[in-house]
Amino acid sequence: MTDNIKFVQGNEACVEGALYAGIDFYAGYPITPSTEVAELLSKRLPEKGGKFIQMEDEIASMCAIIGASLTGHKVMTATSGPGFSLKQEALGYACMAEIPCVIVNVQRGGPSTGNPTHVSQGDINQARWGTHGDHAIIALTASNHQDVFEVTVDAFNLAETYRTPVILLFDEVVGHMREKLVIPEKGEIPLVDRLRTSVRKGVDYHPYLPREDGRLPMSDFGGEHRYNVTGLFHDMWGFPSNNHQVVRELLHHLVDKIENNVHSITRYKEHYLEGAEYILISYGSSARSAIHMAKNRRERGEKVGVLELQSIWPFPEAMVREKCAGAKAVIVVEMNMGQVMKEVKACVDDSSKVFLANRIDNKLITPTNIKTLLRMIQGRGV
């Protein structure tokens, strides 16, 4: 039997990953180029007793998955730029109320309606700062379908571990391209189940009192513990508070639980990085071009390698600094106006050696595009 090998779109790989991770509930709204995620789950979820609902808008979809998460279910929604903008309000709510959920953003050209059927990676900073107020966020990405599957499973695991929304930043090329996917056997990738409280019935349960390790055991709505969930600053019972100490401590908790665990959250891949003089930093579909280009250069004896980021937020500063320490130049390859480049510049020892190889015309950046820049940096002409 080989039915665990599939030839699928990236969006389908994401669906397979979500199902593998144990998704129970999906709410969404049609939007290109993520719609296949909704279409597939509308079929697959009820087959396993799960629930799918097409809501009246993007906002409602985000709200609905939060509601469903509170009853103890693993939940996801998928969207693209304009829908991601609309979801930001409830995304902030999920940060504040610490609700595990996964949000897929298959990026397309923007701003505004932009270019629905073409690729871009312009939502990197929106994923970080799209919702208002100080907060921390986890955002993962992938450049091929096997990795799409794996980071999707990871996203569910991280959402449960840190009680937080996790964003999957895919892009149109990865979402729509077809490629081989091997679905791992059950148990091959460990799954994180919801941490539920062991506090017994009748004992005062503090839904927002972190354990020593920073984790908050949950109690499902409908269970023995009745508590309040709010987007306001709240005390350990979840009741609104404007006590200055409560506010400060909660905000620190929300940020620290993620920023302090950047090492455990960080995901990346190295391609030909050993002894590389020129390091390409890339992610998503643009990383495919970077890897292709590096492979070609290596075959010709040039020391070019790729550091492929699979976790964008929290930004893996220490790892990037370490990997880039010996490089003559660092070229960030992305399809936006330098959103990750600015992060790289901020963390490497010498920001003057960081360059940007980008395309912003909603076309996939090519290996030749990257090579052109490399030659200019090397002073070897184009």
Binding site: D24, A27, P46, M55, C63, S69
Partner: protein, 289 residues
């Protein structure tokens, strides 16, 4: 149980202004729940933002204080993922019908089993008295110093048109009627809307010279009449109260359960078909000796 068994006493006195109708609605709702003998563990109250929304903090149910206008969208997620729960969704008038208008009509259209309570005080109280989509024309508000020119929604007609299968209206003054209607609404299987006229003496009352809380309650008494009453017949300008719609209609979660049944059967069939194909192929390629 006593009414105090349904509230989180440590958060009282509640934060609403003296004489606010929302407290009376809370009072009526608790009594409805008490009289129905519902298990607190099975009730989820979802609210939005505004004065009305604070109600969820005071009740000893599972409570979800959400975003402005979005209470029904959150509630839909809770309900569909765990249909055995009873969903109570109190909302303010601006909350339910301005910023939350889309969620409101679509929840009604789906006929998903929950009770939407529109606590209609015709004003945005929390932000200091701006006009709402239920203020109606000719009213004063901090954003309507020359009086409003906006028409108001008729919540009952809107809900009926959107597909709610239970639609009723009462007032904070008619508290016994309120309790009775709320009980019926909660019992009803499907999307129930109960509009309860509430008073905001602090903002609406003061701006529009409607007097104190008691006078505003008198106003509710004098400007409304029971459906089918002689008073209403004689004076059609009175606002009708009572149950306007109470019909049996397919409920969303139950309908989805049928989808699940069909999908599960379908996937079983597919597996059987697949197995059969494999067997057939095996039979063809490996003929029996």
């Amino acid at each position: 149980m006593a009414i105090k068994d349904y509230i989180r006493q440590r958060y009282f006195p509640q934060m609403w202004c003296p004489g606010c109708g929302h407290g009376i609605i809370l009072n009526a709702l608790l009594r409805a729940v008490d009289e129905m003998g519902l298990d607190k563990n099975n009730i989820v109250m979802t609210s939005g933002i505004g004065c009305s929304a604070r109600i969820s903090g005071y009740v000893d149910f599972h409570s979800l204080h959400t975003l402005h206008g979005r209470a029904l969208a959150f509630a839909t997620g809770v309900k569909l993922s765990k249909p055995e729960l009873t969903l109570l969704v109190p909302m303010g008038d601006g909350d339910a019908l301005a910023i939350g208008g889309n969620h409101f009509i679509h929840a009604a259209r789906r006929n998903i089993d929950m009770t939407a309570i529109v606590m209609n005080n015709r004003i945005y109280g929390m932000t200091g008295g701006q006009y709402s989509p239920l203020s109606g024309p000719g009213k004063k508000a901090t954003t309507a110093p020359y009086t409003t020119i906006d028409n108001d929604f008729d919540v009952v007609k809107l809900s009926i048109a959107a597909g709610a299968s239970f639609v009723a209206r009462s007032t904070a003054y008619h508290v016994l009627e309120c309790i009775d209607i709320l009980k019926k609404a909660i019992e009803h299987k499907g999307f129930s809307v109960v509009e309860i006229l509430s008073q905001c003496p602090t903002h609406y009352g003061r701006k529009n010279k409607e007097g104190d809380a008691s006078q505003m309650l008198e106003f509710q008494k004098n400007t409304t009449a029971k459906l089918g009453s002689k008073a209403l017949e004689q004076d059609p300008t009175l606002i009708p109260r009572g149950v306007f719609v109470d019909i049996d209609a397919p409920e969303y979660c139950q309908e989805y359960d049928r989808i699940v049944e069909r999908a599960m059967k379908g996937s079983q069939n597919q597996i059987h078909k697949f197995d059969k194909t494999l067997r057939d192929e095996a039979n063809q390629t490996c003929p029996k000796p």
